[in-house]
Assembly symmetry: C2
Homo-oligomer: 638 residues x 2
Amino acid sequence: MGQAKEKKCVVRFEPSGLKTKVFIGITLLEAAHKSGIYLSSICGGDGYCGKCKVIINEGQFQSRPTTLLTPEEVRENIVLACQTKVLSDMTITVPKWHSLEAGKILTDGDAERFRNLGGETEITDFELDPLVQKFYLEMTPPSIDDHTADHERLYLAIREKIDAPMIQTGFRVLQKLSPLLQSSDYKVTVTVGRRGGTTEVVDVEGGHHCKRSFAVAVDLGTTTVVAHLINLTDAATIDTEATYNSQMNFGEDYIRRIIYAEENNAFDELQNRIVHDVNDLIMTLAVRQKIDFQDITACICAGNTAMVHFLLNLDPTRIRKEPYIASAGFVPPIRAAEAGIQINKRGLLFCLPGVAAYVGSDIVAGVLATRIYTKEGISLFADIGTNGEVVLGNKDWLICASSSAGPAFEGSGVKHGMRAGAGAIEKLAILADGSIELKTVGNKHPTGICGSGLLDTLAELYINGIIDRTGRFIIDNNSRLTQGDEGLQFQLAPAKNEHQEIVITQADIDNLIRSKAGVFAAIRVLMDATQIKPEDLDAVYLAGGFGNFLNTKQAIVVGMLPDVPLEKIHFVGNTSIEGAKTVLLSRKALETSERIAQSMTYFDLMSHPTYMEEFIRAKFLPHTDLSLFPTTGSVDGI
Amino acid sequence: MGQAKEKKCVVRFEPSGLKTKVFIGITLLEAAHKSGIYLSSICGGDGYCGKCKVIINEGQFQSRPTTLLTPEEVRENIVLACQTKVLSDMTITVPKWHSLEAGKILTDGDAERFRNLGGETEITDFELDPLVQKFYLEMTPPSIDDHTADHERLYLAIREKIDAPMIQTGFRVLQKLSPLLQSSDYKVTVTVGRRGGTTEVVDVEGGHHCKRSFAVAVDLGTTTVVAHLINLTDAATIDTEATYNSQMNFGEDYIRRIIYAEENNAFDELQNRIVHDVNDLIMTLAVRQKIDFQDITACICAGNTAMVHFLLNLDPTRIRKEPYIASAGFVPPIRAAEAGIQINKRGLLFCLPGVAAYVGSDIVAGVLATRIYTKEGISLFADIGTNGEVVLGNKDWLICASSSAGPAFEGSGVKHGMRAGAGAIEKLAILADGSIELKTVGNKHPTGICGSGLLDTLAELYINGIIDRTGRFIIDNNSRLTQGDEGLQFQLAPAKNEHQEIVITQADIDNLIRSKAGVFAAIRVLMDATQIKPEDLDAVYLAGGFGNFLNTKQAIVVGMLPDVPLEKIHFVGNTSIEGAKTVLLSRKALETSERIAQSMTYFDLMSHPTYMEEFIRAKFLPHTDLSLFPTTGSVDGI
């Protein structure tokens, strides 16, 4: 402590053995970032989420006091990495639960499951007319009777193939055009891209290469990044891949990441992370399918507004500050290389349009993919992930909002919450005899509980009278209900061998109720504004990873979704990537997505007069107003 | 000669003192190029123009035999630089007549005169609507009631100012937009450029900077490069500058330069030269007018097809090879920096459209500037420079051709031919007593003869019966007619002190007649194809440097121009730059220039069935068919 801050020491992380040299006084969380090691951290280093626990094996350190560690943990030399400063060379063990290593392509867990989710939608009603296309052109070479210059000759040939009133050619293509036309006897493959109303000659190659025409569609999720490799000639999805978003080192939700970037001037680093993730996915797909990067001529992205801003290094800071605006909702097509995306060096990067700071292009993609903008009947679309975005409408109108209730169902802010990786409790029922039946991902010993398991738990605790309508534990002689470090807790699975006991705490339940209340309040605000009643809803579409695994009945039981017949609820999978693919494959779909984004009315819940009231009313199970839940309204009714 | 070619030696050039290290065996012309010294060279090093004479002071060399040096010159150690190989360290004197040093901005001579030429046209009928413009925008900052993203907010504000259905923003501008809008309280100056049908946001600056909006218009002449600095806010020409085209080291006409580039793979070097010239002009203008480069946001160029190809490093080789085509006639706008033009780093470079390999954008600019495409009456437009391009037509049709007769009136291929620099004979008359009255540029002692002087000489020799209708000297007892090294020659000025005698030789006269015959034959082909007679012509427009100083009566006397009343002949000056400025200042004019280029019918004289016949008929003075020249047809008639 008397040492100068400038002195450096070495921190070694086990079991990876990675080492990093750091200045004395920096935190273990920073040291972990520096060495590329992933530590869970929801709060981004503020010391209140308690996720970044590590074990100190050796070395001197200084830790701030915290209530987030049990006396047992303190005895075991467990510290919060973000609250612990390095004072000497150290050796640290990173516990297994920080299972994500930056940049590693996951092939198990929810990333894997998520990438393969199909939806019920069929993308067949847009004509195949990709944003980037290849054409084989056989031109008549110039002659004494036909002096047309090469550049204009090419344009004439392109216009024989496609409708392209305005064509633009980049300088580098222009320069190589004439030598190429001559050496290839005026038989070339041209790659054209649609940029606004202009058709750009992206590239020209000698000979016939039309069949080597690929693109990548990307869903930029806050937690998971998914990429699909598309064959542009037949619209087929060739392969898919997913990875965790390696920005998670900087906070599990994007607001935390924006704060981290502002405080540490780390905008470039955040961009590098997500660009690196996308490039990793593209590389994996290209290598696996033996496709040359040069033949991938387009990348299309959908994601929430913050993720798109991170990808392009656009200023995201006002997303989290009043008046909550984006730098750009409609991002023009750019050359992918400008953003660091590694495809054909002249290939284009498209981003679907977004609506507002909290309703991004992933939601526009969802509206497009579900076709709710074409339907007579009224649909409700909900994407319940890190945030909870909802859209209500039909072919005549669309309104949308985003709930800011927090990502409890993603496992954040929940003591044993985890992603849907191996060992996560994904289904749970409390049987009549009080015993618990549960199913884990991969049928492993339970190591935590993921979103669908948490929803089941909340519903089952309520149905079985273990919590009351406010979510409080009802103290009776239930042996599973015990006093833990953080108050009352309910045991879901006992400790066994090296595995810890899995419990749900009062604080966890409060967080889950806040989350479900946020989603429901957002839905209520939209329905109330348009005088739509649950029985008026033709369909409820659930998108996203959580939306695909939840038990819809339980979601109505706890009052997260409106009380509609279960057959009206449809799982639609990853509509963000489905919508992105639809746009990639059809210029008309791009125009449609722009019309959707432009016409959708955004309700800013943070300044909405009745949202807070609706939120408080929704903090009961299922709701303060039981008449909203006629089928499941009282526990007895189930 | 026994030395290895790899050995290097030093060549020193006097009087500049510049030195260069070269391999043994390379020519003095190459050594001069390497050290940046300009040597006249019309043939580009082929050894037949005889212009690249230098004096050897010291060192060993090997010269090929040539008939282009007089025995006197050989005695004085004069050699042709292109035919002389370096064998040891050498010292060379570069005679004064190679007065042009590469890259030096000329402030005298014809470059200076040319830059200030006004025309008779008035560019007032296009609305001011520059291709690049600045606007000051005061936007309402976003608020809780107005969530429009910054990027879309900017577009809305731009659309309040101008008609811009499609707007495109480059990635770098997009990235800086939001921080800039915030720091400038949403009061910004935006620079927009028109690229095809798209309006590009070229740049955004905080605050009000609309008045700092400049552009440069450039005439890319084969011999002279001229630049005008334009204030885009009021269309005023602030300043002008000119320089010789420093590509002249590689040949005085562009065909020679293309051959040089092919043989030496020197396309990059040719581009560098012209780009360097343009940048020098821009720098001179900007520094003199105290204008920041960042405030020059556009550059517009007109020039013959080869010069535009050189500037952009587009493949020019097929301009000189059957079927004689350009790589691009319509060059799309590009970022000026991509071509190396040093203005605002996001500024745009526009090139006017050309018609064919031998009718470039300078001619389209001329048609635009003279407005002949708007007129009922039929006009003839001629630009007699290194080439001789002619256009015939009116508001309903336009046809054009280019004569390949060679640049004798530019002084090339003429023993004492020179540019219109100080000492050049620019006017000449043979008086009744046989004495000669002449006027030189700058009233200096005559050192050579330039285009207008050559035309006068040809006409006066003919009128005074010194040459016959075929151009042959009529041998009588005229004391000025003597036998020189190259046959008969006529003395125009005697030797005096250090100044040499100025003569015109039989070969010179043959060259001049070939040149005038080429121009007239081109005119005849066009007039014949459209059944237009001289009396049908409403106006003859003469553009270019030579066109502005020639004696029109003499031009008819020798049969270069058709026999029309002199009042119908108009000097229109540098219409290439006038047309370029017109386009720069008006989007409508750009569209018009594109229509002109597209609709003009090009006559390829090289494959035309009657051109050669017309050419041979025109090789008489004034013509084989005297009925074509009723007023000047016979010498007696004058």
